[in-house]
């Protein structure tokens, strides 16, 4: 029993820092906002919850939010699961580049994703010009943008594990008389289920809290909770309605996370993991080539085309193609949109993202290590807590930072660290989600073997777990980095005017009328895209270079 106590102590030690981090930089700001909304003059006004929720316009928002999130999740899985398979099991030229390509959309500012799709399927967009087809008046534009945006979530989360599943398990089932489909369904699918559930959950959360995309493509017709919270906070200054909606979103997300934790817990098994290089091979036969071609086509239409249109517009000046918009980024214009040349946003974004990644990996890594051990109720609660930032309005968090972290002992308003802290908050759930399945798949007895051979618990973790999870760690770090680069909802509130990040600068440009601003926004977005692509490509390099290190 003494050892169990010690294990608990270790776990609490690992959890301490993440819990403190979440308490100060997440719970406190959010609670403060809710407090201001529901207790404006020192007395609780719970009646406002009922009043707000019985308003027909709010009910419409709620209904639409749920419906579009479900539809988007289903559609994303449908399109992206074949993609996950292709990335996991097939080996083809340019795979690394393509993997980076499908990931880029995810880190683009949501406002920009909306704009890219507007340029593609909206008024005077590409399809409008070619065939007179416009989707921006229907919900399809939103759904397609959500698929575009979340494709990588499924490919990365599911494909990452899939590529490490031993194909011989499926072969064993085939030999036992299962058809190809049956073998997949009975052997691979159950092994993948937790990661599919994790991916679906993430997609649902992102689309449930979708903001920028809906803002651009939904117009006045469609509005999600998050967009409504922003409208109430920033435009109508109606903090009480915003607080109620934040609570509703919180409750809904909590419920979803509860269900998710329950399904994952039922499925936790130690998987046989093998090196991904050993599972991928060149496609064989007409069926597999068709599948590969289908996936490549869907990537081309859904992801490359909008991005292509985006890049095309960044070069398309009023007098033909050229670098005019890019040159304009290097100087201050007279309109006062910026205090510094927009190009400086690149450096800001990179610096912030590096700091945010370091924080997210530290906090998320500690949390994942704590969660690896057999979970009690307390730990499961902690697991759910870590996921909450994904579901809580970034707008609320950003605004909360401003009203809570502005006085001693924690006056961070003037400090550069404020932005990375907010961005890390969004990155931590990714790190935990990606580390955990792999950490849990490490056989406990390998650690025991290391311990018997003289490795202390920390050494055993370093020698046994770390080499096996290094890959997942790098993927997680890459994701945290990318998410930090693209974070918009909170950053827009807290980034200082003289230190804008790329997405904030893009949004500021888009908010101004005129062709030059629009073109500059496109140019800056293209730069952001390139920055992301280069970072991810570097990561791909790192991942393959590193074979099993000895001594």
């Amino acid at each position: 029993m003494r050892r169990d106590l010690k294990g608990d102590a270790t776990r609490l030690g690992l959890m301490a820092l993440p819990v403190a981090f979440f308490g100060v930089f997440f719970a406190w700001p959010v609670v403060s906002i809710v407090d201001r909304g529901l207790r404006p003059d020192g007395a609780w006004r719970f009646g406002r919850i009922g009043e707000t929720l019985s308003r027909p316009d709010i009910l419409d928002v709620l209904g639409f939010t749920v419906w579009q999130a479900l539809a988007s999740t289903g559609l994303t899985l449908l399109v992206a699961l074949p993609g996950a398979y292709v990335f996991a099991r097939f080996d083809f030229p340019g795979k690394g580049v393509l993997r980076a390509v499908v990931t880029v959309p995810f880190v683009l500012p949501t406002v920009l994703v909306g704009t890219a799709f507007l340029a593609l399927v909206g008024r005077n967009g590409l399809t409008d010009e070619l065939w007179g087809l416009r989707l921006d008046t229907s919900v399809w534009a939103i759904l397609l943008a959500h698929v575009f945006f979340n494709y990588a979530v499924v490919v990365r989360t599911v494909g990452g594990l899939w590529s490490q599943l031993d194909p011989r398990q499926e072969e064993a089932a085939r030999v036992l008389g299962a058809s190809r489909w049956r073998a997949w369904r009975t052997v691979t699918l159950p092994a993948l289920a937790p990661s599919v559930a994790a991916a679906a959950l993430m997609v649902f959360l992102f689309t449930f809290t979708s903001f920028g995309v809906v803002q651009i493509l939904g117009g006045d017709q469609y509005s999600t909770l998050e967009a409504e919270i922003y409208r109430q906070t920033a435009r109508l200054l109606d903090l009480s309605t915003a607080a109620v909606l934040t609570l509703v979103q919180f409750a809904a997300v909590g419920a979803i996370l509860g269900v998710h934790a329950w399904t994952v817990r039922r499925r936790e098994t130690a998987l046989r993991l093998v090196a991904p290089e050993r599972t991928a091979r060149r496609p064989r036969g007409a069926g597999q080539w068709t599948l590969l071609a289908g996936v490549l086509l869907s990537v081309a239409l859904l992801i490359l085309l909008p991005l292509g249109v985006l890049v095309e517009r960044s070069f398309a000046g009023p007098h033909g193609y050229g670098l005019g918009y890019y040159r304009a980024l290097g100087s201050l214009d007279e309109s006062g949109t910026f205090l510094v040349p927009p190009l400086e946003a690149i450096g800001n974004s990179l610096r912030y993202a590096v700091a945010a990644t370091a924080i997210a990996v530290l906090i998320g890594g500690l949390a994942a290590a704590a969660l690896t051990r057999r979970a009690g109720r307390l730990v499961r609660g902690f697991d759910a807590l870590l996921m909450l930032p994904l579901g809580v309005s970034a707008v609320t968090v950003g605004f909360g930072f401003l009203i809570t972290l502005d006085e001693p002992p924690l006056d961070l308003r003037a400090s550069w660290i404020l932005v990375p802290l907010a961005q890390a908050l969004v990155g931590v759930p990714f790190v935990v989600r990606m580390m955990l399945p792999v950490l849990r798949a490490v056989d406990e007895r390998l650690r025991e073997a290391a311990a018997v051979l003289g490795a202390s618990p920390w050494r055993a973790w370093r020698e046994v777990d770390l080499p096996m999870v290094r890959r997942a760690l790098l993927i997680a770090a890459g994701f945290a980095f990318a998410v930090s680069l693209g974070e918009f909802g909170a950053t827009v509130f807290i980034a200082r005017p003289d230190r804008p990040t790329l997405p904030v600068a893009v949004a500021r440009l888009l908010g101004r009328p005129g062709e030059l601003n629009y073109g500059q926004a496109m140019a800056l977005s293209t730069i952001l895209m390139v920055v992301c692509a280069v970072s991810l490509l570097l990561l791909e390099r790192l991942r393959t270079d590193r074979t099993s290190g000895e001594f």
Binding site: M1, R2, R3, D4, V274, D443, R445, L446, E448, A449, A450, A451, V452, L453, G454, A455, S456, P457, R459, A460, E463, V464, P467, M468, S548, E550, F551
Partner: protein
Amino acid sequence: MLSIEDATVRFGERAVLDAVDLDVAEHEIVCVLGPSGSGKSTLLRAVAGLQPLDAGRVLLGGADQAGVPVHRRGVGLMFQDHQLFPQRDVGGNVAFGLRMRGARKAERAERVGELLDLVGLPGAERRSVAALSGGEQQRVALARALAPSPRLLMLDEPLGQLDRGLRERLVVELRQLFGRLGTTVLAVTHDQGEAFALADRLVVMRDGRIAQSGAPADVWARPASEFVARFLGFDNIVAARVTGAVAQTAWGKVPVPDGSPEGERRLLVRPGGVRLVEEGPAWTVESRTFRGSQVVVRLRPAEGPDLEAELPLREAPEEGARVGVEFRVEDVVVLGDDGP
């Protein structure tokens, strides 16, 4: 070297180890034998510190190990399915324990080479463990466990996953190797052949308790209880009333050794101690099983349980023949109770 005193481990209500006492002397090879679920693996895990004790203590070299973490106990444990580190090559696996003890690189390389020679895999340092056969993995696991020169080496079903021929060869190799190195060994297995071939001393476990302990030959000759006898593969067991030198059984009168306990008992007759005679044909030959130069004949009495007799090939009667039976006193054992 190793003393286990009153060791108890409970999983919920069930005692997996129930007040176990066991001593292993320096250079001794002790084999714990028992069916699955008898607590033998838990015993090893308790000694290694992987399983906390609910009561009792473990002493190594006279020092109480309570509070000593796994990695400071200086014991070796070979896991049932080896648990080689998949991301390291053979050399990396064998050198692991040496690295944990801070051995220098040159020293490690030398020792790894030495051990791989010892287990019959010279020059295998750079091979990937995934590419090894079961027998080779087994050897690497052994080399890995031996490399840091543990004061006590523990083996959990060391040969469990290997095929029979390889197993029989390896068990002989292992015994020779341990003898040469003077290793103190505590092994657990459910295979009697393995245990008898490997051990200086046998410990038979049942339901978390020690059912019998002693030299393999003694355990074989005098199983302490019906459980041990049946576990060793003896089925000629019958209820008996022992008075003096004779036992009254369903098989008729059976002579018992001097000093056997008297009263209502269970009686074991080893198959080799059954002789067929002409007179009094009360037994029918049911079946014959060939075991090398011997034949095991299954005999059915008029009443009572079947009896097995082990006979030389030429003396074996045909199936269906009717025969008489005599018992040799030196192959009769009056069994004790199955313990408290």
